[in-house]
């Protein structure tokens, strides 16, 4: 298990090692020369401004909507909750396509800010709602009984407890944003990620692309460290046992219907516009056609790759989790932590690292499905590890002890006790990874073998050539495959599930 775990950790660290090696080889002087250019300054300004603006906007939107849905008498709260989470089922690049294909004037900072905020606010909204549901109303009741007003109680009791969910969600938005390629490319707002792709795609300028990747990885690491620190400080909302009661909703009074209007407007913008745009292209697009054979081919290729990636990622997660849960020690900790580094690695960097590493070290695997699957493993390992870990923790070692005492050997115990107990989490982990891979764009574009067309790559080639109608059926299929993951996220009450989402 240790050897297998170490191998997985090594694979997970390939992109980071690649970036670090590049910095060492090129040296600070040359690196500085590559980076000290007006273009890089512009990219840095674009990336940082957009990230900060979107994090602030999603935080404000996520908390306000969360409070309205969870803590007030807003009419139709359950329905609004479903509709407010639903944008997660529309990949950001599909949303970008929907807006830009509807109105070509949507572009630049304003366009990018609008589209990305509308795509990513659920990443704040969901953990905030989960936290609000978990808050023990007894805390607020205690504050009221101590003479605090409702407003003061909110400020001094509720808000501090929402902070981890709020900041965690916002940092996650930041990480997603740094990794976002498709939407920003369509909206013509250059950031490091889109620039790296352009450098790579147009001129195959490895040095310039990698230099930019160094900056991108540093930005991501800052956010990841902030998120990790925050998670370490997180305290459980409920200390005591017993069933939590729901909080008494705040009566909105005459603000009720105007606020319904506000929530409705968010839903129209975040969900209505993409739905309308997609349907419009499907129905009236001049370039719309339904090439059934090609759609089926792309669907089959997508499913095959996602299936292979899901199986490989889940299998890779097993030794990591086994060591982390059953054999705690420094080696296990190092192995588990190294898989989390992927949280800070945008698909573009993983793609670039694997292209260069394979060409230099094992040219035979360049342009093969195996290399693409390896990229998926690196990108989505954290997701599988979190899910499988939760399962293995439900199978305490005392059950193995009991099984042994009843005459069952190690293999039979694994078959009769451990595997049946962790099977659901293995399945859930594989399903999450499967769905994530189905809509992955960036690494797939860079690494898919020539002749392999997936839904994402087909969508991309059509929409980047402005054949919006031709892209529509693929966009629809992409949304359809995203729905199950969104339902899974909606069902889970745990903020952890949402904060473990990684950039794609």
């Amino acid at each position: 298990m240790l050897v297998a775990g170490a191998a997985v950790a090594l694979l997970a660290l390939v992109p980071l090692v690649y970036v670090a090696t590049y910095v060492v080889i090129i040296g600070p002087a040359d690196l500085w020369q590559l980076l000290a250019r007006p273009r890089i300054a512009e990219l840095l300004r674009n990336t940082v401004t957009l990230a900060i603006a979107c994090m602030a906007a999603t935080a404000a939107l996520g908390v306000s909507l969360g409070l309205l849905v969870e803590r007030t008498d807003l009419p139709g709260r359950r329905l609004w909750h479903g509709l407010l989470v639903a944008p997660l089922a529309v990949p950001a690049f599909v949303n970008g396509y929907a807006w830009v294909s509807l109105d070509r004037s949507v572009h630049g900072f304003t366009g990018a800010f609008t589209v990305v905020t509308l795509s990513y606010y659920p990443l704040v909204y969901l953990p905030v709602v989960a936290m609000l549901r978990r808050l023990d109303p007894a805390l607020e009741e205690s504050a009221w009984s101590l003479g605090h007003s409702r407003a003061r109680t909110f400020r001094t009791v509720v808000l501090p407890q929402l902070r981890p969910a709020l900041l965690g969600g916002a940092l996650l938005v930041g990480l997603h944003l740094l990794a976002e390629f498709g939407a920003l490319s369509l909206l013509r707002f250059p950031t490091f990620t889109t620039a790296i792709y352009d450098q790579y795609g147009s001129t195959f300028n490895g040095a310039a692309a990698t230099a930019m990747a160094v900056v991108l990885v540093l930005l991501c690491l800052v956010l990841l460290l902030a998120e990790l620190r925050l998670r370490g400080d997180r305290r459980y909302a409920r200390l005591g046992r017993g069933a939590a009661r729901g909080a008494v909703p705040l009566a909105l009074g005459r603000w009720r219907w105007p606020l319904v209007g506000v929530v409705g407007a968010v839903v129209v913008l975040a969900l209505g516009i993409p739905a309308f745009s997609l349907l419009r292209w499907l129905v009236v697009g001049t370039s719309t056609e339904f090439p059934v054979a090609e759609l089926a081919e792309a669907l089959v290729a997508t499913i095959a790759l996602a299936l292979a990636g899901a199986v490989a990622t889940t299998l890779a997660a097993i030794p990591v989790v086994w060591l982390a849960v059953r054999h705690r020690g420094w080696a296990s900790t190092v192995i588990e932590r190294s898989t989390y580094v992927a949280n800070a690695l945008p698909g573009i960097v993983v793609g670039l690292a694997l292209v260069v590493a394979s060409l230099r070290l094992v040219p035979a695997i360049y342009q093969t499905a195996a290399l693409l699957v390896a990229a998926y493993v690196i990108l989505f390992l954290p997701r599988a590890v979190v899910t499988v870990r939760a399962g293995l923790e439900q199978a305490p070692t005392v059950l193995d002890d009991v099984a042994h005492s009843l005459g069952t050997g190690p293999l039979a115990t694994a078959r009769r006790v451990t595997l049946p107990l962790i099977a659901p989490s293995l399945g859930a982990g594989a399903a999450l990874v499967f769905l994530a891979i189905s809509t992955e764009l960036t690494a797939t574009l860079m690494l898919s073998p020539i002749g392999t067309h997936t839904l994402a790559t087909e969508f991309w080639s059509a929409s980047s050539e402005l054949r919006y109608g031709a892209a529509a059926p693929y966009a629809l299929l992409l949304v359809l495959v995203s729905i199950p993951a969104t339902v899974l996220l909606m069902r889970s009450d745990s903020p952890a599930t949402t904060t473990e989402r990684v950039p794609v």
Binding site: L399, S405, L406, L421
Partner: protein, 350 residues
């Protein structure tokens, strides 16, 4: 079933000696409790017997079969035929009651009538209704889970059953009924059993033999009444029940102390520590016979009460008396000691 013999067993974790040269014999078909505070090494001892740990020195034998020990390759747990009942039962959550109980039966028996009969027999033994066989562990109360865990451990007819604080997570009322049911089931099957606990009431009321552990060492093993009435040293006396330990001076069969003159279990001479159980201290409310004192505090339990008395010389003494008529704080009472008193020389040995 067979007897269990532990000889000179030692086990360390790093520099900590968790089990230190422990020797204990549990006769065939008898029930021994290992009593000790948390961290005394009692669970480690149990895990050594089960085979989850390997001793550094000493031997463990089931009947005449040495399962671990000097020069013998330690038998893995799955071949030792031990029944293991951990805290909170640890039922397999993915299996129903019947499948849990049948888990340790041979593969061919599990699906057959033989297995079903054995499950029914075991449910009956632990006093659970037959229709419980299809329940899932999360549909059972804590006490029921423990009974199923015992049934599961007994089904394959183990050589020895080991119980690791099996009632500690149950509330007080369930603990009594569950432990009595477990005791009856073990007796009915004539099972050799070892239970570890930190609860003195449980240890004394269930077992044929109580083994007291302290800091990895076995300090006394004897029938419950002997451990209670004749503890090996004052520390054991204070751990097993409440004890009043007073300094005194012995002259043959008698000794004098703050509570006046007492009669000793064994004659001795010189300065001694006297161990008196609170129920041996008679609280006289009516007469002025005995040593005078003032009641400081009364804890009333219904059936009896504990009375803390400060003697005129300042010594504090605990007395236990029936709850029907009792003094209140501030009353003046007279105390005297009834029955025989155990004396210890300062080194610890009587």
């Amino acid at each position: 079933m067979s007897s269990l013999t532990i000889t000179g067993v030692t086990k360390s974790f790093g520099s900590t000696r968790a089990v230190d040269d422990v020797t204990l014999h549990v006769p065939h078909g008898s029930f021994t409790t290992v009593l000790g505070p948390s961290g005394c090494g009692k669970t480690t001892l149990l895990r050594l017997i089960a085979g989850f740990l390997v001793p550094e020195a000493g031997t463990i034998a089931f009947g005449s079969t040495v399962v671990a020990g000097d020069g013998v390759r330690s038998m893995p747990p799955q071949t030792r035929r031990v029944g293991y009942v951990p805290q909170e039962g640890a039922l397999f959550p993915h299996l129903d009651v019947a499948a849990n109980i049948a888990f340790g039966l041979p593969r061919e028996a599990r699906g057959a009538q033989e297995g079903r009969d054995r499950v029914a027999e075991m449910l009956d033994l632990v006093e659970l209704p037959a229709d419980f066989r299809h329940r899932r562990p999360d549909e059972l109360s804590g006490g029921q889970q423990q009974r199923v865990a015992l049934a599961r451990s007994l089904a394959p007819q183990p050589a020895v059953v080991l119980l690791d604080e099996p009632f500690s997570s149950l509330d007080a009322s369930l603990r009594g009924s569950t432990s009595r049911a477990v005791r009856r089931a073990l007796e009915a099957t004539n099972t050799t059993a070892l239970l570890v606990t930190h609860d003195q009431n449980e240890a004394l009321s269930l077992a044929d033999q109580v083994a007291v552990m302290r800091a990895g060492r076995l300090v006394q093993s004897a029938p419950p009444s002997e451990v209670y009435l004749s503890p090996t040293d004052p520390q054991v006396a204070e751990f097993v029940g409440r004890a009043v330990v007073l300094p005194g001076t012995a002259t043959d069969a008698r000794a004098t102390c703050a509570l006046g003159e007492v009669v000793l279990t064994e004659p001795t001479t010189g300065p001694v520590a006297l161990m008196i159980r609170p129920e041996q201290v008679y609280v006289d409310l009516a007469h002025e016979e005995g040593v005078r004192g003032t009641v400081e505090e009364v804890s009333y339990y219904g059936h009896d009460c504990a009375v803390q008395v400060s003697l005129d010389d300042g010594t504090s003494v605990l007395a236990r008396m029936a709850g029907v008529r009792h003094p209140v704080a501030g009353d003046t009472v007279h105390l005297r000691v009834t029955g025989l008193v155990r004396a210890y020389h300062p080194a610890g040995s009587p």
